[in-house]
């Protein structure tokens, strides 16, 4: 393995990590502020991707589609919060799991009803297609670099939002003491709707961007949702910092595991066998990582509050 290939794989891990961060930050924010487990978070990712694909297909512009996708995800998030989620804040985690599991079914089949069974077309915009040269002679897709940049921007913006703004102050207050912010005369209901819509918008953003790289189809949110949960549990639920570190950790471990495990087994197995065994272990790797971390740090790396 050459140095330039290693560098490229590290970039790939970083890119997977930033994509996961867009999903995980919303999930962890919602948990931190409202104490809610939201299995339907992957549905907002799907809504973002579908609306982007549909709008881009109709108008011919990816950027219009991207805007529409984010707005639609935020709007759907707000509506879901008003109709369903706000009845769940005072319930047990168990009720939240069931209700949001039901929302997954409703969103998946509702999307299929609206858009049909076939996967939709969505491509990287013309301006960002193609690849740039990396040091060492390798080439890397521009769009993936853009995803990394967007992830970094969102991370910075979230930190500023939470540490510097009025809204951020309220969010921090909500995280540390849910009763107190009511006493401070803050309209909790409005705050909760806003935070939930923000989380949904971030998921929608991730869905729109990733949809251009992958396949826009019903059920696309579920694998990402599970990964995002792994991330926030590793990082410590409710902690944005934990979500960031967890995302990068999962992104890097998953990518490098997929690359290096098969090579490792090739030292003492036939290529076909090594590839099979290596791939099997690589697919289990992030769950092993999570189990190890939780065995030693039962509240994740940067526990906020539980």
């Amino acid at each position: 393995m050459t140095l330039s290939l290693l560098f490229e794989q590290l970039l790939n891990g970083l890119q997977l990590g930033t994509m996961l961060f867009l999903m995980a930050s919303g999930l962890t924010l919602v948990f931190g502020v409202m104490g809610l487990i939201n299995l339907a978070h992957g549905s907002f990712y799907m809504v973002g991707a579908f609306v982007t694909a549909w709008t881009a297909g109709t108008t011919g512009s990816f950027w219009v589609g991207l805007g529409a996708g984010i707005l639609a995800a935020a709007a759907v998030g707000a509506v879901v919060e008003l109709l369903v989620i706000r009845r769940l804040y005072h319930r047990q985690h168990l009720d939240q799991v069931l209700a949001t599991f039901a929302l997954i079914l409703i969103f998946s089949e509702g999307t299929r009803w609206l858009f049909g069974s076939s996967p939709l077309w969505l491509n990287v915009p013309e301006a960002l297609s193609g690849a740039v040269a990396l040091p060492g002679g390798s080439r890397y897709p521009v769009f993936r670099l853009v995803i990394i940049a967007v992830g970094v921007l969102v991370a910075v913006a979230l930190f500023l939002l939470i540490s510097r703004t009025r809204l951020g102050m309220r969010i921090r207050a909500g995280e540390s003491d849910r009763e107190m912010i009511g006493a401070l005369g803050i309209d909790i209901a409005k705050l909760y709707t806003l935070v939930f819509a923000l989380g949904a918008a971030l998921a929608g953003l991730a869905g729109s961007m990733i949809g251009a790289l992958q396949s826009v189809q019903v059920g696309m949110g579920e694998p990402v949702l599970i990964l995002a949960f792994v991330v926030i549990v590793i990082g410590g639920i409710g902690s944005i910092k934990g979500a960031l570190i967890g995302s990068l950790l999962v992104g890097l471990v998953d990518t490098l595991g997929r690359v290096f495990l098969p090579s490792l087994f090739k030292l003492f197995m036939t290529p076909a066998e090594a590839s099979g065994v290596g791939a099997a272990l690589a697919s289990m790797l992030i769950y092993v990582l999570m189990a190890i971390i939780l065995a030693f740090k039962p509240k994740g790396l940067f526990a906020a509050n539980d």
Partner: protein, 348 residues
Amino acid sequence: MTRLHKGALDKTPGATPVPMPRIQRETWVNWALLGLLLLAPMIANALGEVYYVNLATRIAIVTMAAVGLNLAIGYGGMISFGHAAFFGLGGYVAGISAFHAFDMTPVLSWPITMPGTDNLLVIWLVAMLSCAVLALVIGAISLRTSGVYFIMITLAFAQMIYYFAVSWPTYGGEDGLPIYLRNQFPGLDTNDPLTFFLICFAALVLALAITARLMQSRFGAALTMARLNETRLATAGIAPYPIRLVAFVISAVITGLAGALFADLNGFVGASMLSWHRSGEIMVIVILGGVGRLYGPLSGAMLFVLMETLLGGLTEYWLLFLGLILLFVVLFARGGVMGLLAGRARHE
């Protein structure tokens, strides 16, 4: 045959009279549900409608899986999102054993030679032991965490096993493993749908009886206390961790046995028995029926399986309506089906 289910019924829990009107009503509902599950397939069998016998068997098995999970969630407060691991392991024990019995090859040749078998008693024993060992490992690590972390770490373990099963070629991987001939119970014809139903029904009743006895014992009191107030339990000189671990293991064993039966009912075991959707489904049944109610899983499974069957025939968008119904139940019918039928539970 009559001997079998009569013996089983004698052990039925909930019959102990408790001097509270609410509990009386719950007892009646429990008996009615159990009676319905027993009688409906008998009538169907008499009418020659085998399909409904198998449907009832399915309900009995799914109920049993949920009875296991209910012990962890409802009584122990351990929200496991990974019980599909045990359900699937039980299924794979039945499938692998039958596979080797059919091929006449040993399951293990080292360190001891272990032949395959189609004897259900042996299979059940091995399935329960395997699940106990797995649950001991998973529980020992997972129970160090709590709350959402527990939910997610149990899910993580189940996902590990799922990916292992998908990519392990010996027993079919994602294609799964067919069981050509249903495994045999000494002296009974398991291929007869009604006989197989009665076996599953007896196993279910036994699982209910064990759960009921367990919860009436000192162990059950300690488990309840561990859920409600850990500190008070500790002041009584009892550590909550071993209590929870034992309950988790028993819960896994019950779900695992259900998995073994499920594999035999379908004549098939596959990685889908291990998927996180399956964990979710078992959990949905527990919540739908009423968490921490002995017969909650039965009412939940009846409603879930019937909805699945009836809605599936009406529209290809049936999952949408299933979602809407589930949402309605959790938002407006708290306490699940049992809450509706038998009023609220004692300690709420």
